[in-house]
C-alpha cells in the first residue's frame, strides 16, 4: 500500500520534472538551431530542429576569426575576482549582521537594499563621469569594484539569511571549547554555510560574467574586451550575425553550468540536529 503510493508519487515527480525540463530546454534548442542555420536568420518559418544545410561554421569561425578565447579569459579573470571578493565580503558582512548587535545595523540592512532600488539606467551616467574622473577607464579594477557592489547586496542578505538558520548554540559550545569569536566563525560556522556560499559564488560570478552596460562604458581597449562586449560586436541594429551570436551564447553558458556542477558538491550541508549537541 505504502509502496504503491510511493511509486505514484515518484512518477508524478518525474512527470513534473521532465515537463519543466522540456520547457527550459526548448528555447535553448532554438538557439542551437540558429547557431547551425546558414544565412544569419534569427527566425525561420520551419520548426525543424536541424535546419537544412546545417553547419558548424559559426563555431569554427568563433575560434578562428574572432579572439573568442581572449574574451573568455578576460571575462574569467574579472568574474573570478568578483566571485572571490563577493564570497569574502558577503560571508563576513552577513555574519556580522546575523550575529552581532551593533549601532547602525538596521540602517545598514536597509541601506544595502536601497542600493538596488534606484533605476540602474539613471545611475549609469553619473557613474561614468565618476569612473572617468577616477581614471578607471580601461581598467579591470573599476569594473570589478562596480560588479562587486552590484553583487554584494544580494549576497550579504542571502548569507545573513542562511546564518540565521544556524543555531547560536554551535558557536557557544565552540567558545566553551576555547575558540575566540573569529575562530568560532571560520572553523565552525563558515564551513556549515557552504550551501549559501555556493549561491553567493554563483551569483557573483554571473553578475560579472554576463554584464554588458557597465563594461561598455569602462572598457575601450579591444584587447581588454570581456565576453559580453565581444558578443555585442556581432550585433548591430538590423544586421546582427545571428549564427555567431547564437553559437557564442551557447558556449558562454558552458562555464556557468560547469561551475554549477562543480559547486553542487557543496550544495549539501552537513548540518544536522546532532551537531548542535556535539
Amino acid at each position: 500500500m505504502k509502496d504503491k503510493k510511493k511509486i505514484i508519487f515518484n512518477s508524478l515527480t518525474y512527470i513534473f520534472l521532465i515537463g519543466f525540463t522540456l520547457i527550459s530546454l526548448y528555447p535553448i534548442i532554438n538557439v542551437f538551431t540558429i547557431s547551425i542555420r546558414p544565412g544569419d536568420k534569427l527566425l525561420s518559418t520551419s520548426l525543424a530542429i536541424i535546419p537544412e544545410n546545417a553547419s558548424f561554421d559559426a563555431y569554427a569561425a568563433l575560434f578562428s576569426d574572432k579572439p573568442f578565447l581572449l574574451w573568455m579569459w578576460n571575462s574569467f579573470l574579472v568574474s573570478a575576482v568578483v566571485t572571490l571578493t563577493g564570497v569574502a565580503l558577503a560571508s563576513t558582512a552577513g555574519y556580522a549582521l546575523s550575529r552581532f548587535e551593533f549601532i547602525g545595523k538596521k540602517l545598514s540592512m536597509l541601506g544595502i537594499l536601497t542600493t538596488q532600488m534606484f533605476p540602474a539606467t539613471m545611475l549609469l551616467l553619473p557613474m561614468y563621469i565618476m569612473l572617468i574622473k577616477l581614471e578607471l577607464i580601461n581598467s579591470y579594477f573599476g569594473l570589478i569594484i562596480v560588479y562587486s557592489a552590484t553583487a554584494l547586496p544580494f549576497c550579504v542578505w542571502q548569507m545573513k539569511g542562511f546564518y540565521d538558520t544556524i543555531p547560536f548554540s554551535l558557536e557557544e559550545s565552540a567558545r566553551i571549547d576555547g575558540c575566540n569569536r573569529w575562530q568560532a566563525f571560520y572553523k565552525i560556522i563558515f564551513p556549515l554555510a557552504a550551501p549559501a556560499l555556493v549561491i553567493t559564488a554563483l551569483f557573483s560570478f554571473m553578475t560579472a560574467w554576463s554584464e554588458y552596460i557597465v563594461a561598455a562604458q569602462v572598457i575601450q581597449d579591444t584587447n581588454l574586451y570581456t565576453l559580453p562586449l565581444g558578443l555585442k560586436s556581432f550585433e548591430s541594429r538590423l544586421g546582427t550575425e545571428w549564427g555567431l551570436y547564437a553559437a557564442a551564447s551557447l558556449i558562454v553558458s558552458i562555464p556557468v553550468v560547469t561551475l554549477f556542477i562543480f559547486l553542487s558538491k557543496w550544495l549539501v550541508s552537513g548540518l544536522t540536529l546532532g551537531s548542535v549537541k556535539g
Binding site: T92, F100, F102, D164
Partner: protein, 739 residues
C-alpha cells in the same frame, strides 16, 4: 578548506589586475573611434586602420563598436566631462543633439574648400556654418528588393505592385495558410512607412520645421497600408523585421522593402536578388521617397591641438577614393566622393546603380533633434491605426498632437530661482537635521567601537564597496531631479525646485503604468517563487537522475538573456511561432495574436520573464533546504504527519530566512527590470502599451534627453520601492534573527 592556498590565489589575482591597468588617456599617438558600424563594415574599417598604422609607426588607432543610443548618451556625457573618443562615427541625425550641446569640433579649418569640393554635397554636414561631420557613406535608405526567380521585372507603380503581389501571394496546399507572400516588410515601424507617406505627397515637417502629420496625405498613406494587408492581402498580418527577413531569405516572399544594410545578407542566403527604386503611387504620380542619411565621422571637441593633425591624416586616409571604392563594392553602400561615382567598378554594379537611383529619389533626413519627437509620437498611434483601434483620420490628428507635446517636453525650459533656493535650503537643512538627530548614535558608535570591533571589521568592507560605488551617482541624481537639465540646459543646468516632480505626477500615463508595474512584479515574483521552490523540493528528494535535472533546469539562467528573449519573441509569432502551433495542433484552440494586442503582448512578456527567472529561485531554495536537519522530518514521520503538514510546519518556516532576501530583492529587481520588456515587446509595442515604469524613464532620458525629468521619475520609483522595502521588512521581520 586550505586557507593558505586561497590567500595566495587572492594575491595573485590582485597582482594580475594591477598589471592590466594601462589606462593612459589623451596619449597623442593614440586615436580612439566610437562607431555604430555593422560587423562587415567594421572589418573593412579595421583593414584601413591597419594600413594606416603600418604607414605611421608608433600610432595606434582603436575602433570600438557601440550601440546607437548608448553611444549618443555616453558620448555626450564623456565629452562634457572633457573626455571621450577622438572620433565618433554614425548617421547624420546624431549631429542634431551633438551640435546643440556643443560637443563637436568644427572641421572648417582642417580641410580646405578644394578638398571638400571632391565630396557630394549631401556628405558634408554643416550646422550654422560649422562643418561638423564628413560622411563616407550615403544611404541608410529603403528600396524594393525582389527575388529574381519569382519577379522577372520589378513593379514601377503601386498598381503593378499590387498586381504582382496578388499573383505571388499563394496558398499552395489550400490549407488556408499563405505559403508565399507577394510583399513583406517591417511595416509596423514608422521609419518603414515614410516612403508611402512621401509617395502620397506628405512629409513630416514643413519648410519651417513645424510638424505636419495631420494631413490628408497621411490619412491616404495609412489607408493604403491597411489596404495592402486587408483588401489586397499581399502582406502578412503580423510582420516585424526578423519575420520579414526570414521569409525573404527562405524564398517565401517575392519582394521585401529593406535598407542597404540588408542586401548583402540576401546574397549570402542564396537569394538571387535585385534592387529597384520603390514604385510610384498611381493616385499622386509621385514616387515613394525613402529617407536618406549620410553616415560619417565627427571630431570630439576635447581633442588636443597636438593630435589634430594625426586625426586629419587618418580621415584623409579613410576618405581615399580607392578605400571608398573597396568599401562600396564590399558593403553595397554608396560612397561620397564624386570621382568614385564615375568609377567603372561602381557604375557596373547593378546594385549600386539602382541604389543610387533610389537615393536620387530620396528625401534627406533632417538632422534636427525634433525628429526624435516625431518618431516617438508616430509609432504608438501608427500601430494603433494599423490594428484598427482608431481611424486613420483620428490617428493623423493624434500623431500631430503627440508630436507637439513631445517637442514641448524636449524644449521644456524652467527657470525658478525661488523654488531653486527653497530646495537648496531644504537639502542643506535635511543634512544638518539628520546629523543632529543621529549625533547620539554617532557618539555611541565611537564609544562602542572597541566593543563591537569585530562586527565592524566584518561588516564595513562590504558596506564601503557598496557605498563607494553608489553614493556619488545617487547624490548626483537627487540634485539633478530638482534641476532643469535637458537638451537645452545640458551644461548650464540650474536648480529649479519641484517642477519635475510635479511633471511626473501630472503625466497622464503615470498611474496606469504604475498599476501595470505592480501587476507585472506580483505575477512574476509569485511564479518565480512557486515554481522555484516546487522544483527544489522535488529535486531535493534525490531520486535517481535528480542531478541531471538540476543542471538542465538552471540553463535558462545560464544563457545570455538577449538571444533567448528574442527567441521567445519568435516563438510568439502568430503564424510561425511554436506556441501557436502547439495551441492549435494539440490543444485545439484558435491561435492567439500574441504580439499585436496589448494584453496578449503583456502576457507574452511575463511568460518570458517567468521562464528566465525561476531557475534562480530554484537554486536559492535548494540552498535553503539544506539548512533543514533531516531529523525533523524523521520525527514528523514517526508522528504520522502528512506531507503538507511537514511542508507547512517544517519546510516553509525553515527556508523562510533564506528565501526572504531573495524575494525582497526579486521584487525590487523585477520592478526595475527593463531588458525583457524591451526585447520581447520590441520597445513597448504595440502602441507603447507594454511599458512598465522603468522603461518609461528610459525613454524620457535617452530619447528626449530630459535628464531632470528622468531623475525625478527615478526618485519617485525609488521612494515607492523604499516604502515597499520598509513595510515588507517590518512585516516579515527579516532584519531580525530567527534564533
Amino acid at each position: 578548506m586550505n586557507f593558505n592556498r586561497i590567500r595566495i590565489a587572492f594575491l595573485l589575482f590582485f597582482l594580475s589586475l594591477l598589471s592590466t591597468n594601462c589606462s593612459e588617456q589623451n596619449n597623442k599617438d593614440e586615436i580612439l573611434i566610437w562607431h555604430t558600424m555593422r560587423p562587415e563594415e567594421t572589418a573593412i574599417l579595421q583593414e584601413q586602420l591597419d594600413e594606416f598604422m603600418s604607414e605611421n609607426p608608433g600610432v595606434t588607432v582603436t575602433q570600438v563598436f557601440q550601440e546607437t543610443e548608448k553611444m549618443r548618451s555616453d558620448f555626450i556625457v564623456a565629452s562634457i566631462g572633457g573626455y571621450g573618443p577622438d572620433l565618433v562615427y554614425g548617421p547624420a541625425d546624431q549631429i542634431g543633439p551633438f551640435s546643440e550641446i556643443d560637443v563637436l569640433r568644427p572641421m572648417n579649418d582642417l580641410f580646405n574648400s578644394q578638398y571638400l569640393s571632391n565630396f557630394d554635397s549631401k556628405a558634408l554636414i554643416y550646422v550654422n556654418g560649422h562643418l561638423l561631420q564628413i560622411a563616407d557613406k550615403l544611404g541608410n535608405h529603403l528600396t524594393l528588393v525582389y527575388n529574381k526567380k519569382l519577379v522577372p521585372t520589378p513593379p514601377k507603380s503601386s498598381g503593378e505592385l499590387i498586381d504582382i503581389g496578388k499573383k505571388l501571394t499563394i496558398d499552395q496546399n489550400n490549407d488556408g495558410r499563405i505559403d508565399q507572400y507577394g510583399l513583406v516588410w517591417n511595416y509596423t515601424e514608422p521609419y518603414f512607412f515614410i516612403p508611402f507617406l512621401t509617395g502620397f505627397g506628405g512629409w513630416v515637417l514643413d519648410s519651417a520645421n513645424f510638424p505636419t502629420l495631420n494631413t490628408p496625405e497621411m490619412v491616404n498613406a495609412l489607408r493604403f497600408i491597411q489596404d495592402l494587408r486587408d483588401k489586397y492581402k499581399i502582406i502578412p498580418n503580423e510582420a516585424d523585421y526578423e519575420v520579414s527577413d526570414a521569409l525573404f531569405k527562405e524564398g517565401k516572399a517575392a519582394m521585401i522593402i529593406n535598407g542597404d544594410w540588408s542586401w548583402s545578407g540576401y546574397g549570402a542566403a542564396g537569394i538571387d536578388y535585385g534592387i529597384s527604386p520603390l514604385p510610384m503611387i498611381d493616385a499622386t504620380g509621385k514616387y515613394c521617397s525613402p529617407t536618406v542619411a549620410p553616415k560619417g565621422y565627427s571630431i570630439n571637441k576635447n581633442v588636443s591641438p597636438d593630435k589634430i593633425y594625426l586625426i586629419k591624416k587618418l580621415l584623409e586616409k579613410i576618405f581615399e577614393p580607392a578605400n571608398q571604392i573597396k568599401t562600396a563594392l564590399a558593403t553595397k553602400t554608396l560612397p561620397t566622393r564624386k570621382e568614385v561615382f564615375a568609377d567603372s567598378a561602381v557604375i557596373n554594379d547593378p546594385i549600386l546603380i539602382n541604389s543610387k537611383k533610389q537615393i536620387d529619389l530620396g528625401t534627406a533626413l533632417p538632422i534636427i533633434t525634433e525628429m526624435r519627437a516625431i518618431w516617438n509620437a508616430m509609432r504608438p498611434v501608427y500601430q494603433a491605426a494599423l490594428s484598427g483601434n482608431i481611424s486613420p483620420e483620428k490617428a493623423a490628428a493624434e500623431m500631430q498632437k503627440n508630436t507637439l507635446k513631445n517637442i514641448k517636453d524636449l524644449r521644456e525650459s524652467y527657470d525658478d530661482p525661488v523654488g531653486g533656493l527653497i530646495v537648496q535650503i531644504l537639502l542643506i537643512a535635511i543634512v544638518v537635521v539628520s546629523i543632529f538627530m543621529l549625533r547620539r548614535s554617532i557618539s555611541a558608535f565611537f564609544s562602542n567601537l572597541k566593543k563591537d570591533g569585530l562586527a565592524y571589521i566584518f561588516a564595513l568592507p562590504a558596506l564601503i564597496v557598496m557605498v563607494a560605488v553608489i553614493f556619488y551617482p545617487f547624490a548626483y541624481n537627487i540634485v539633478i531631479s530638482f534641476s532643469n537639465m535637458n537638451l537645452s540646459h545640458m551644461k548650464d543646468w540650474s536648480i529649479v525646485g519641484f517642477v519635475q516632480y510635479v511633471n511626473v505626477f501630472r503625466e497622464p500615463q503615470f498611474y496606469s503604468i504604475f498599476l501595470k508595474t505592480i501587476v507585472w512584479t506580483t505575477i512574476n515574483v509569485t511564479f518565480h517563487v512557486v515554481i522555484g521552490v516546487s522544483l527544489a523540493l522535488l529535486l531535493n528528494k534525490n531520486l535517481p537522475g535528480s542531478k541531471i535535472f538540476r543542471v538542465l533546469l538552471i540553463l535558462p539562467w545560464a544563457i545570455p538573456q538577449y538571444i533567448v528573449a528574442l527567441t521567445w519573441r519568435g516563438m510568439f509569432n502568430y503564424e510561425y511561432g511554436a506556441i501557436n502551433l502547439l495551441i492549435s495542433n494539440f490543444l485545439f484552440m484558435s491561435p492567439v495574436e500574441w504580439l499585436k494586442s496589448p494584453m496578449e503582448a503583456f502576457v507574452a512578456v511575463i511568460i518570458t520573464n517567468i521562464w528566465l527567472g525561476f531557475p534562480f529561485m530554484m537554486i536559492i531554495a535548494l540552498g535553503g533546504l539544506q539548512s533543514i536537519p533531516q531529523e525533523l522530518y524523521e520525527a514528523a514521520d514517526i508522528d504520522g504527519a502528512k506531507w503538507f503538514h511537514k511542508l507547512k510546519n517544517i519546510t516553509i518556516p525553515l527556508i523562510r530566512p533564506v528565501m526572504l532576501p531573495a524575494i525582497t530583492l526579486g521584487v525590487i529587481w523585477t520592478f526595475n527590470s527593463i531588458n525583457v520588456v524591451w526585447l520581447v515587446s520590441n520597445a513597448g509595442e504595440p502602441s507603447d502599451k507594454t511599458h512598465i515604469l522603468v522603461s518609461y524613464v528610459y525613454k524620457a532620458a535617452f530619447n528626449f534627453y530630459r535628464y531632470g525629468f528622468a531623475a525625478a521619475f527615478s526618485m519617485v520609483i525609488f521612494l515607492i520601492l523604499l516604502a515597499f522595502g520598509v513595510t515588507f521588512l517590518r512585516k516579515t521581520r527579516a532584519t531580525e534573527s530567527v534564533y
